[in-house]
Subunit: 196 residues, 2 copies
């Protein structure tokens, strides 16, 4: 068994997180890594009509493709998380009504959360995605309205955050990585970093 | 569908958490509930040779059985989390060596985390438990030693915290409730409170 730590393995790189998400910043930091943050102009508004996994990987790739200042020491990481219900991607809700419709569709059933990740150095690129199945208990209208008015989930794909009131009280079960739902498939990312 | 919130339903009670765990306090607070904290003398040191689920429920029950000052408005909640590998309960590790042995046994395999919960008012008691299956990626000796020396998991059953460095980097998958592994089966608890 190879006995080394990820921080030793990545010593040659200056890590750059190409994401404005405070949740991703928090997770990467809890992984024990030091990094800089650089937000890019690519937004998830772009629609990809294809397969949700390909879409998440494509958006993650695009977020670092726009960066041009590579040097041999930099390793960029970008990610995109999509929520999929009955094969369709749920984007960020535009208003209260759209959030209500999304949360009603997630109530008392399971859906998928897919995070696509792109890693890029001067010499190579790795793109992968991870899927977690999430099951909600039934949500009534008072619960949905309370969440939307208190937490304003308009910056969240699928209109919810698993680490917020609605996730803690109503997500009965997940199958896969919890942190993938928060925003990064951290255990997979650790392995991909070790192989990079 | 009944349209009400848990906070309305529990309005008649003064909630009391019989636990010194900051993680349980945090979860109950994130559930949106107001409560007082009361720590009792019952510790998880007590050994129950029986079934792990019964053991978790028994310890949770014991934590509130020792409380005598019931009044009609108080609702006590207590919990106990056990980590089970190959049918045997892993307690809190006594020293570095025991933590190393435990983490080696959890490496590259799955185990169960069971949280027993007891609710008690003046007129009734409810006891239940919830199980989550957790799968670790392989852990090497450097990783195990780094975690033990940096995080000192001697207060944690099974020698790890899912929300810490080792959980974020090496837990590949869970099946069940994430918050149950942290210390409370929050979605189940919401439903049990609504029925109480």
């Amino acid at each position: 068994m190879k006995s080394s730590l990820l921080t030793d393995h990545l010593r040659q790189y200056k890590l750059v997180l190409a994401s404005g998400s405070p949740r991703r910043r928090h997770l990467l930091s809890e992984m024990g890594l030091s990094f800089n943050v650089l937000t890019t102009g690519v937004d998830e508004i772009i629609q990809f009509p294809q397969d949700p996994e390909l879409s998440a990987r494509q958006i993650a790739s695009d977020k670092i493709r726009v960066l041009n200042n590579y040097d041999e020491h930099q390793l960029y990481i970008a990610a995109d998380t999509v929520v999929v219900k009955n094969g369709a991607i749920l984007n960020k809700p535009k208003d209260k009504h759209e959030a209500q419709v999304m949360l009603n569709s997630l109530s008392d059933s399971e859906h998928q959360v897919i995070t696509g990740v792109a890693l890029r150095s001067e010499s190579k690129t790795e793109v992968f995605s991870e899927t977690t199945i999430v099951t909600f208990n039934p949500l009534n209208n008072a619960e949905i309205d309370h969440y939307i008015s208190s937490y304003k989930p308009f910056d969240k794909a699928g209109a919810y955050g698993i680490q917020e009131w609605i996730g803690i009280n109503f997500i009965r079960k997940i199958e896969g990585s919890y942190f993938n739902v928060v925003g990064l498939p951290t255990a997979r990312l650790y392995q991909e970093f070790m192989r990079f």
